[in-house]
Amino acid sequence: MSVTRTGPLPAGADATYDVVVVGAGVVGSAIARTLARHPLRVALVEAANDVGDGTSKANTAILHTGFDALPGTLEARLVREGYHLLSAYAQETGIPVEPLGALLVAWDEQQRAALPRLAEKAQRNGHRTTGLLTAAELRSREPHLGPGALAALEVPGESVICPWTTTLAYATQAVRSGVDLHLDCRVEKVRPGDPYHRLVTRRGVLRTRHLVNACGLHADAFDALVGREDFTVTPRRGQLLVFDKFARDLVRHILLPVPGPLGKGVLIAPTVYGNVMLGPTAEDLDDKTATGTTAEGLAGLREQGGRILPALLDEEVTAVYAGLRAATGQEDYRIAAHPGLRYVTVGGIRSTGLTASLAIAEHVRGLLADCGLGLGPERPLARLRMPNLGEAFPRPYRDARLIARDPEFGAIVCHCERVTRGEIRAALTSTIPPGGLDGLRRRTRARGGRCQGHSCGAEVRALFEEHAEHREGTR
């Protein structure tokens, strides 16, 4: 097991793997973790300097039941299975999840008329507990809704989850169970061969018998490296606004729009960190790097959000960001095995990949076996308990016993998010230390609160650099 970020890749036998998974987003990390249950030599290879740095860091963080998936698709099945797998995994490893339930709110007659059909669709997806709410019932559950809400479909089980901890948990457990993680290591060329494919990166060459493409937005480009052209990824941008924690009391459920002919509309959902999220937009682009926000996008979100929850607009905005969904022109995932190439493409993981990740991993494990990978016996994974970033669960700054053991957990550094020096130190010395301040934020929330570093930025950076220097020094 090792994590590398710089310098040449391991050479010789150490650079020879049974499986290399390319792309350490939530999907690739989940696959690496699943493969780690077998006595295989596995590497997870990522172009960015951290795991979960692509689409996986910039979604709406909902653990979907899959009630509204297109019945019969692979996506519908994997989302449904993934929901159960990830719920259980979160419980076991301490990933924060809050099962708030969702309300699909109808704002006009057409939307109201659509609710029974959605309930029926949910049933076909194996979700039998939905219920219709009258305007009065709806209002008593969500007293801050704007005027004009006519009815709602209640979907119990829809949950909010921490997407950052999820990806990090998979990757950490994979590494602790023996997987090599190579960061800052873009695969630039693939020389298919037998028995080994050779993967050319700027840091050297890796050899592997089997290959998994989990490149997210770049899955089509990676396919091209091995000579396949099965689909094209069109980035569909989603811009989002995250409101201050003081907005949290305004909303109790995940408020989903009713999908209709006039487009998708936006959702309002609490986050596990105690904020409220508004978004996303849906814009088809052709630039896979266009993760910026736009004035029109943000203004449109505010306008829609203000209709759903007027008081939301009085609260401060903590963060704005955008993510890109990997659309492929087909209402399903594009997961395909190519046994002749000992190669599996995991493409088109559009807007449900976080939820489905563990089920996708199981599915891919099966496909690799179909491609001739001898999995061998199963063994238990390394045990794992993740630090909690969720507001609904105990945080270190309120834990008297922890502070008594280690006073650093009583030293708050980031005041908005109440992140202690103990947590920052722990993240900096963890199995997969952050590659930069943003990675540190995703592990601890430091600098991620309402002041965005106004008061803690310098201190957090000092801790990061102190540690980086220390690491250099001991190398």
Binding site: F246, T289, T291, G292, T293, T294, A295, G297, L298, E316, V317, T318, A319, V320, Y321, Y397, R398, A400, I403, A404, P407, E408, G410, A411, I412, H415, R418, G436, L437, R450, C451, Q452, G453, H454, S455, G457, A458, E459, R461, A462
Partner: protein, 407 residues
């Protein structure tokens, strides 16, 4: 651990320290100041330049010097100042939950003085679109970075754009230049005041409309002109968003204190009493930045009312709220105090933009109480003080009082 003190002051900036010094000297009993940072003194600690009055011998004080003096005065008077200690929430009407390396505490007090200061709105709260690169700062973070790391370009970049036109923008420009960073331009919504920024070009009537670059900032897009129609790009690797203050009102809101519209700080009367019995608020927490001496003066003023409370004087009832017209942005940004009681009080008014010889008005329940044309011009980075007679005639049994302006 549960403890009880007489007065608990939250925040060891100029306001909190001045309050503690005065209270301890006046024999208020055990006066304890909590400060979440490792050093007491508040914002002046990071303002390493003159501008904070003078010491006893008339020598100008810089921020750190002023901070040290304020801390010493509080300690000498007998107050306890505890640093590295955060007040995280309320466990009762006058009981705060506290986290410190020494453990958790519940501190009960007979009076609580909130002096938690203010911060600048970051880029996200200002809804500036674009990418999310490194190199995007507020003045607060900039000053702390310089204090912490000195002038190392890998921390603050080489070419900076400063957004804002207030005095704090000048502070940012000075800090950047002292750190060897080239300031490419100051971008301000207000009409340009070239003289304020020395040799640095000022783009007046302009806004930063987009941040560019991935990984590190590579530039900002600026829109200017009537209707903000012309757009061009300034190349830079750092942008500092200055001013645009928001009170650090977390504890105030967690206590359920109503915020004064406009200021977003807790509404108080002229003795700095909030709506909750026993809870006071002073300093920048009330409305964003005023000079340190103003914050400190408020800290001293609050002492009398705190002592009154400790001696058993009842908490006033029947105070009327005072504010600027609700709704869309008008010529005035805020007015304080936000509650008017029986004691006549001066009003502090902050204009939203430059106003030349405006007519200020006071109305209650829609009925006009006063209209006065002011001589001269009001500037958005400075408050005007209206003498106590401005509020004469307010009916303490009536509805909200509104202070407006006409040009």
């Amino acid at each position: 651990m549960n403890r009880t003190v007489d007065v608990l002051v939250v925040g060891a900036g100029p306001a909190g320290l001045a309050a503690a010094a005065r209270l301890a000297a006046a024999g208020a009993g055990r006066v304890e100041v909590l400060e979440r940072e490792l050093d007491a003194g508040g914002i002046p600690r990071h303002c390493a330049r003159p501008g904070f009055g003078a010491d006893a011998r008339g020598r100008p004080l810089d921020g750190p010097g002023y901070a040290r003096r304020s801390v010493r005065a509080a300690l000498r008077a007998g107050a306890t100042v505890r640093t590295g200690v955060s007040a995280t929430g309320w466990a009762g009407p006058l009981t705060l939950d506290v986290t410190a390396p020494t453990g958790l505490e519940r501190v009960r007090a007979r009076a609580v003085v909130l002096a938690t200061g203010a911060r600048e709105r970051p880029r996200s709260a200002r809804l500036v679109p674009g990418s999310r690169p490194a190199g995007v700062l507020t003045t607060g973070e900039l000053q702390r970075l310089v204090l912490r790391f000195g002038a190392r370009p890998e921390h603050i970049g080489r070419r900076a754009v400063v957004v804002g036109g207030d005095p704090v923008a000048r502070a940012a420009v000075r800090t950047l230049r002292a750190a060897g960073v080239e300031v490419v331009a100051v971008v301000t919504e207000h009409p340009a005041r070239r003289t304020a920024f020395g040799a640095v070009p000022v783009l007046g009537g302009a806004v930063v409309s987009e941040l560019l670059g991935r990984g590190r900032l590579t530039g900002v897009a600026v829109r200017s002109g009537a209707g903000r129609t012309t757009r061009h790009t300034l190349r830079c690797d750092t942008v500092v968003f200055t001013g645009d203050w928001i009170p650090d009102h977390e504890l105030a809101r967690a206590c359920g204190l109503p915020l004064a519209p406009g200021t977003r700080g807790p509404a108080t009367d002229s003795a700095f009493r909030t709506a909750a019995a026993g809870v006071f608020a002073v300093g920048n927490l009330l409305r964003g930045v005023e000079p340190a001496v103003v914050a400190a003066a408020e800290g001293r003023t609050v002492a009398a009312a705190v002592i009154g409370l400790l001696e058993g004087r009842p908490w006033p009832e029947g105070r009327v709220p005072v504010g600027v017209p609700a709704g869309s942005v008008g010529p005035l940004r805020w007015v304080t105090p936000g509650l008017l009681g029986p004691v006549a009080a001066p009003l502090l008014v902050r204009p939203e933009r430059r106003l030349v010889r405006p007519v200020l008005t006071v109305t209650q329940d829609g009925a006009p109480l006063r209209r006065v044309r002011l001589n001269g011009a009001l500037a958005p980075w400075r408050s005007v003080r209206l003498p106590p007679w401005w509020a004469h005639g307010v009916d303490l049994g009536g509805g909200p009082v509104v202070v407006g302006a006409e040009e």
